[in-house]
Symmetry: C2
C-alpha cells in the first residue's frame, strides 16, 4: 500500500479499513459501524471527556511518528478519565485528514491509538472521518467509576498533603530538544512523543481517600493554581520534593535553564496531582510535593518554597 | 464585546465564558469544568457517537449564521443517537478556532448548539478549545436506551416495510440554491442551514417494533444501500411514495433537475430510515416508501421502481 493516500482510497474505504483494524471489543454491546456505539456502564454513571489535537500546534509530523501521535491522542484523553478516579473503558475518534495523507500514516496512527487504549483497558468503539486541510484529531474518552465517587479538583482542604504521581518536565524538555533541532536525550524526546500516564493511579488515589485529583496537562503551576482556586485554598509547593528526572536536570543545565522551568511549567507528561488528607498513606507512585493551606489574600494561589510564583527563579510561563 | 476575538480574550477566558453560558444541567452529577464530566446512565448502557465538521467543507461562514452552525453541529450527532432508538442525554464539544474568530461568533454558535441540544433534551457537559487555522467542530453525543434494545441498521428482513420519517432533499435543495448564489426559497435554505430532526422518532420506531433503523446522512440511496448490505437484503423503493416537499419539486424543476436527484441523493435533512415488520402499524411521522426483499444477485442492493440505481433518471451521485 506504500504511497496510497486517503484521497486515492476514498473516505468510505478508509473508514471500513479502520473498522476492520479495530475489531469488535469483548463486552461492548455495539461497536463501530452503526450510527452510534453502545457501551456497558454497570455503575449507572459514565465519565466523559474530549480533547482536540491539531497538526502544527499539538504535534508535528516531522517530529513525531504517526504511532506516537496515536499514543498521545489516546493518552491525553484517557489521563483525564483516570484523573476523576475512574477506569477508562472506551473512546471514539473524529478525524479530519487531508486527502494527501498516506494510508500508511493512518494505519500507524491507528495502531498507536489502539495500543495506548489497550494499555488503559479501553476499546475504540466509534468514529468519524472527514476531509480537512490539517490533520485534526478529536478524541472522546469514556470511563467507569466502579461505584466510587468522582474525585474533583475542587476538593482540596487546608492541611492536605499535595502529591504527584508521574514525571514532571520530561515532555517539556523533549519539546525544547526538538525545537532546537536535536533528537536526544532520547528519554526526553520519547516523553514528548509518547507520554505514558499511569491509568490506574487515579483509582489508587481514590481508594486512598484523595480529596482532590487532576491531570497535569498545562504545567504544575497553572494546574496547581486551578486546583487551589476550585478548592478555595492556596498550595505551597516544596521545590526540593518535586520529582526531577536526571535527563531533565542535565539537559536544562546544558541549555542554561533552571530545570524548574520544565518541572513547574511543562504539562504534557500527564502526571496526576492529588490532595490527600494529612493522615493518609500515599498510594504507590505518589510523592508528597507540598501542602494545601488557607487561601492567602486575593491573588497568589500557588507558592513555591514560600514565594509567589512570579519570583521563582528561571520560571518561564508556558501558558499559550 | 463587538469586535473582540478569541485571540484577544485568550483561550482560557473563552472556555470560562462557555462554561458560564452552559451552566450546570440538572441531573448531571459533574458538568463542565473538571478533567471530565460524569453523567447518569441508569439503563446500564450508554449510546455514543461522534462527528466532525470542518469550515469550508461542512459549513461556510458566509452561507450560515453561527447559531445555525451550532444547531447543525448538535443536530447531526443527536440524530445518530435517535437512530439507535435512544434518547439523547448529553454532548461534549471539541472546538478548534482561529484566534481571529469573533467572540460574538462563538457566543452565537454556542447559543445555537445549546438550543438544539435542549430541543433534544441533551445537556452540554464538557469540551475542549484549541487554536486551529479553520474552525473545526468535534461533537460527541451520548444517549440512553431506557431499557430498549438498540436498533441497528443490520436488522432488516425480507418482507419488511421500509419507511421514512422526515424530509428528503430539502437540505440538498438549499445547498444547491446557495451554491447558485441565491437565498430563496427560504424553506430550502433554512433546511440546509438548520436541520430539524425529530429526536423522538427513533424511540417511537423502536416501540413499534422496528427491525432496523438508521439516520439518512449521506442520501437515501447510499444509506439505503448500507442498510441493505448490513442486513443482507435488497431494498426496493417506490419513488411515488417518497416524501416530496413542494419547494423541492418546484426549485429542482426551475433548475432543470429531476427532484429525485435531491430526494434520493441529499442526506443532510437527517431523516430516519426504518424497516418494520409487514404487520407493524407505522408510528407517527413514518411513511412507507418501499420494501425489503431477498438479496438479488451480487451487486444491486437498492432499486427504485424495480430498476437498478444507475438507471434512475436524473440521479446525480452525491457521494464525496
Amino acid at each position: 500500500m506504500t504511497g496510497t493516500t486517503v484521497g486515492d482510497l476514498g473516505e468510505i474505504a478508509v473508514v471500513d479499513r479502520i473498522i476492520a483494524a479495530t475489531g469488535q471489543a469483548p463486552g461492548v454491546p455495539v461497536g463501530p459501524g452503526d450510527d452510534a456505539a453502545v457501551l456497558a456502564c454497570a455503575d449507572g454513571r459514565v465519565v466523559v471527556t474530549t480533547d482536540m489535537l491539531v497538526e502544527g500546534r499539538h504535534f508535528r509530523r516531522d517530529w513525531s511518528e504517526p504511532d506516537d501521535i496515536g499514543h498521545k491522542a489516546a493518552a491525553e484523553n484517557l489521563a483525564d478519565i483516570a484523573a476523576m478516579g475512574a477506569t477508562p473503558t472506551a473512546l471514539v475518534i473524529a478525524l479530519a485528514l487531508p486527502p494527501t495523507t498516506p494510508i500508511a500514516w493512518v494505519d500507524a496512527f491507528l495502531a498507536g491509538l489502539l495500543e495506548e487504549s489497550a494499555r488503559a483497558g479501553a476499546a475504540l468503539v466509534g468514529g468519524d472521518l472527514v476531509r480537512g486541510d490539517a490533520i485534526t484529531i478529536g478524541v472522546t474518552a469514556l470511563g467507569d467509576l466502579g461505584g466510587r465517587p468522582p474525585i474533583l479538583r475542587s476538593g482540596a482542604r487546608a492541611g492536605d498533603v499535595i502529591a504527584i504521581c508521574g514525571a514532571l518536565g520530561s515532555a517539556a524538555g523533549g519539546l525544547a530538544v526538538l525545537s532546537r533541532g536535536f533528537r536526544s536525550p532520547r528519554a526526553l524526546v520519547e516523553a514528548h512523543r509518547r507520554p505514558r500516564p499511569d491509568y490506574r493511579a487515579g483509582v489508587r488515589a481514590s481508594d486512598a481517600g484523595a480529596h482532590a485529583l487532576m491531570d497535569v496537562s498545562d504545567g504544575l503551576l497553572l494546574d496547581g493554581e486551578r486546583m487551589a482556586r476550585a478548592s478555595g485554598v492556596s498550595i505551597d509547593f516544596d521545590s526540593a520534593s518535586l520529582p526531577r528526572d536526571e535527563a531533565v536536570v542535565t539537559t536544562a543545565s546544558a541549555y542554561n535553564l533552571d530545570p524548574l522551568t520544565w518541572v513547574l511549567g511543562g504539562g504534557d507528561d500527564h502526571a496526576l496531582l492529588a490532595a490527600f488528607p494529612a493522615e493518609a498513606r500515599l498510594p504507590e507512585g505518589f510523592v508528597a510535593v507540598g501542602t494545601a493551606v488557607d487561601a492567602i489574600g486575593s491573588g497568589a494561589r500557588v507558592r513555591v518554597d514560600g514565594r509567589e510564583v512570579e519570583q521563582v527563579a528561571g520560571f518561564e510561563h508556558f501558558r499559550a
